[in-house]
């Protein structure tokens, strides 16, 4: 915030200095009024920062996309597919951002394979998906944006399968906050399955990707509503270049979970001692640059913890996806005391704070499951084997043995498990009111497994304000011409709490919308 204030002060000086140069009339006006204040609302006058527009452009593209994750690649694919010259700029030396390392879970009411129907897992619809998403976000979500996600999820999934060669596992799971079995798992077990598919489609259609390219400014002449975004400034190696976007700039740069200062500024509770699942590049500067050229933001304080990260480092490795995918099939979360502490089908914020509220010294908690659940919950035997070798999964023939191995009281764990088995049979959970289903598997037959878990900072629900066309909206509610945003950088889709497996459909559905609309934008050559 300090720097932003400083920018404003600098700008004030700059505006008055420039005015002085214009001539005597302006000079006297400046003397009388004591200089102009920064006023983003004054057409033609306001300038957001002490920066001169570039005199020449080093590169020119139709559509410039910032970020190479799900949203950026989907946008690039659509923009290039519509005939635009599109470039994806990635500041990191590798592509894919958080997307390539995410858990690969994808919420969609259906897919071309219709696994939910084939496996008799009940009904679903885009509308039901929207209802769950709104409820899970405490109705802070912008409903029009939710519609784009739930309606775009299924066609986007099929698109990646058909055109990009993405593969999904033959199951769907019911994850926390969802009322239907709609979470699809990638064969790769991580988001790379989809980033690779999208990259393939984008490159096939002629989009280009440039790594090691850190955007350092968004060029816009002023904040007049008709004033478009012109391009961006980018640091590439030792050089600073200016890149012109004749049609549009698309922000697809993700969230700010790794920027401690920005995180604390919006949510002081998320202190430095929390781990973070994100790659180091998730630092949110594009949101600040967008704000500096007039963009509105919303709900920046809604930052999600992934409840089941690897406790030591906070990474979301393959075993860390199991606790998330397991509840629909009967996985049980227990504390170090061997007791349940939450309805496992609860949303992420509830599951995360149920652990944090156990108090100091409660880290880690455990997910308990058995062999029969593995494939159903989108897991694989190979993953379990590898996880055991690394000490991430603990395997035992009996619940007693498991308790001993993870050093929790055996009697307590046995009691917890047998009670939960009984709840499955009775279809009722009097302890935490979990909505029990017929497909849940009781923990009666081994081998049994445990995986340690603890919350880590994961996803920013807030961000730049967009409309259903992925156009960025300014602080006065006007569309900023030539500026789009998609994915985690944009806010309002998930409300106060994103349901697990909604991130990928959000990013890809909006990425496609942004890319399609950017390509349609009027060219300013």
């Amino acid at each position: 915030m300090m720097t932003e204030n400083k920018d404003k002060r600098d700008n004030r000086t700059q505006v008055s200095r420039r005015t002085v140069l214009k001539g005597a009339v302006a000079l006297s006006a400046a003397a009388v009024t004591g200089g102009f204040a920064l006023n983003l609302a004054a057409p033609g006058l306001a300038e957001a920062m002490v920066k001169k527009l570039p005199a020449k452009w080093d590169e020119t593209w139709d559509v410039v996309i910032i970020g190479s994750g799900f949203a950026g690649l989907a946008a690039a694919a659509e923009a290039a597919g519509a005939g635009s010259k599109a470039v994806v700029l990635e500041k990191m030396p590798t592509y894919g951002g958080n997307s390539i390392i995410n858990g690969g879970v994808y919420a969609s009411w259906d897919s071309k394979f219709h696994y939910r129907q084939k496996l008799n897992l009940g009904d679903d619809s885009p509308k039901q998906h929207a209802t769950d998403t709104l409820k899970g976000g405490d109705y802070y979500n912008i409903p029009e944006l939710v519609d784009v996600m739930v309606n775009g999820a299924e066609p986007a999934l099929n698109w990646m399968i058909d055109e990009g060669g993405a593969q999904i596992r033959e199951t769907v799971t019911r994850a926390g906050g969802h009322t239907a079995y709609r979470t699809h798992s990638a064969v790769a077990g991580v988001g790379r399955e989809y980033t690779e598919a999208l990259r393939k489609i984008a490159e096939k259609r002629g989009a280009k990707m440039v790594l090691n390219s850190e955007v350092t400014w968004i060029w816009r002449k002023d904040a007049e509503p008709a004033s478009p975004v012109l391009g961006i400034e980018v640091k590439r190696g030792r050089r600073v270049l200016n890149i012109k976007a004749t049609k549009a700039v698309i922000l697809a740069s993700g969230g700010f979970s790794q920027d401690l200062k920005m995180r604390l500024a919006h949510n002081p509770r998320l202190v430095a001692s929390f781990n973070c699942t994100n790659q180091p590049g998730s630092t949110g500067e594009m949101i600040r640059f967008a704000q500096a050229v007039g963009a509105d933001t919303l709900q920046m304080n809604f930052i999600q913890l992934y409840p089941f990260a690897e406790p030591e480092t906070g990474i979301l490795d393959t075993p860390a996806v199991y606790p998330f995918n397991g509840p629909g099939y009967g996985i049980v979360y227990v504390s170090k005391e061997g007791k349940r502490f939450v309805n496992e089908l609860e949303r992420r914020d509830v599951c995360a704070f149920a652990q944090i509220n156990l108090g100091a010294g409660a880290k880690p908690t455990y997910s308990i499951f058995n062999e029969a659940m593995v494939l159903k919950m989108g897991g694989s035997n190979k993953e379990v084997e590898d996880g055991i070798a690394k000490g991430r999964f603990i395997k035992a023939a009996s619940i007693n043995e498991l308790a001993d191995k993870i050093k929790i009281p055996a009697a307590a764990l046995t009691e917890t498990v047998s009670k939960h088995n009984q709840y499955i049979e009775e279809g009722k959970d009097p302890d935490f009111s979990k909505p029990m289903t017929k497909v849940m598997i009781p923990l009666t037959e081994g081998p049994f497994y445990a995986v340690a878990q603890w919350p880590a900072i994961h996803h920013c629900m807030g961000g730049v304000r967009i409309d259903a066309q992925a156009q960025v909206i300014d602080v006065f509610g006007k569309i900023i011409p030539g500026l789009f945003a998609a994915g985690e950088v944009a806010g309002g889709v998930h409300g106060s709490n994103r349901l697990g497996s909604n991130a990928i459909p959000d990013a890809i559905a909006f990425g496609r919308v942004a890319g399609t609309n950017a390509a349609k934008a009027k060219s300013r050559t």
């Binding site: 030396p93 590798t94 894919g96 390539i100 390392i101 690779e196 190696g237 480092t313 990474i315 070798a389």
Partner: protein, 250 residues
């Protein structure tokens, strides 16, 4: 042209002060003048332009050398203009001998440079590129690092590998990177590299077989700055080290 010559003279005179201290016994009376003369007259520069006693520079067991011009050297020590791997290349030997810590001679004592137009050897026609002032500064900086840094460039220098071996025939410009195929020409094939760094315990924690897909060698291995294990950005508990990480880092 006149300007360039003057610049060369000026730089060479400044360089002289340093050069003398190190190798005064073999230096001619006034190498700067000699170099300037060579530049002016387009006479190819030779070792004797600066070193009066040329023969004493050559190692004892070195075969006899005929002639006073550079071709006397380059006949055996290829000038490395093709970008192929030659560990005893002329460029490696000459640059290491004249850059710190062994020497401290300015580029323009031996090289001629017309800003943004050409760059080559004093007295020779061939130009290898057209570096501007910025690029010239960068080349100096990087050459100095290559000769004496704690990074991977110096590891290569010690092994007799110079610019062209990684960058190819053209003078490297600002935005260039080294493609994996260049690295693998010596360090490959990739399968061998993967095998070499396969952790005994967990095979999937192999830095050369990343879950991030086909990534550039330069993600971790930086020639002219600190090399870093990219994996550690997230996997903080992995025990991994890398060469060229600098003196202070493990």
């Amino acid at each position: 042209m006149k300007k360039i010559v003057l610049l060369a003279v000026a730089v060479a005179i400044i360089a002289l002060g340093y050069a003398v201290s190190d190798q005064d016994s073999v230096l001619a009376a006034n190498p700067a003048k000699a170099s300037a003369k060579a530049a002016k007259s387009s006479t190819p520069i030779s070792c004797q332009t600066c070193h009066a006693d040329f023969s004493s520079l050559i190692p004892e067991n070195h075969p006899p050398v005929k002639g006073n011009e550079l071709s006397a050297c380059t006949a055996c020590h290829a000038p490395e203009l093709t970008g192929t791997i030659d560990k005893n290349a002329y460029s490696v030997r000459m640059h290491l001998a004249h850059l710190p810590p062994k020497g401290n001679v300015d580029c323009l004592v031996c090289h001629r440079w017309q800003e943004g137009k050409s760059f080559g050897l004093t007295g020779a026609k061939e130009s290898w590129g057209a570096p501007n002032k910025e690029e010239m500064e960068l080349m100096k900086e990087i050459f100095t690092g290559w000769a004496a840094s704690v990074y991977m460039d110096n590891l290569h220098a010690k092994a007799g590998i110079s610019c062209a071996n990684c960058h190819g025939k053209e003078l490297p410009t600002f935005d260039v990177t080294v493609e994996n195929t260049r690295c693998l020409a010596c360090h490959g094939p990739m399968e061998a590299l993967v095998k070499k760094t396969e952790p005994p315990e967990f095979k999937d924690r192999n830095p050369h077989q990343s879950h991030l897909g086909d990534i550039a060698c330069t993600v971790c291995h930086k020639a002219h700055s600190e090399s870093k294990v990219y994996c550690l950005g997230c996997h903080q508990n992995f025990k991994m080290t890398i060469q060229g990480a600098g003196e202070t880092k493990p």
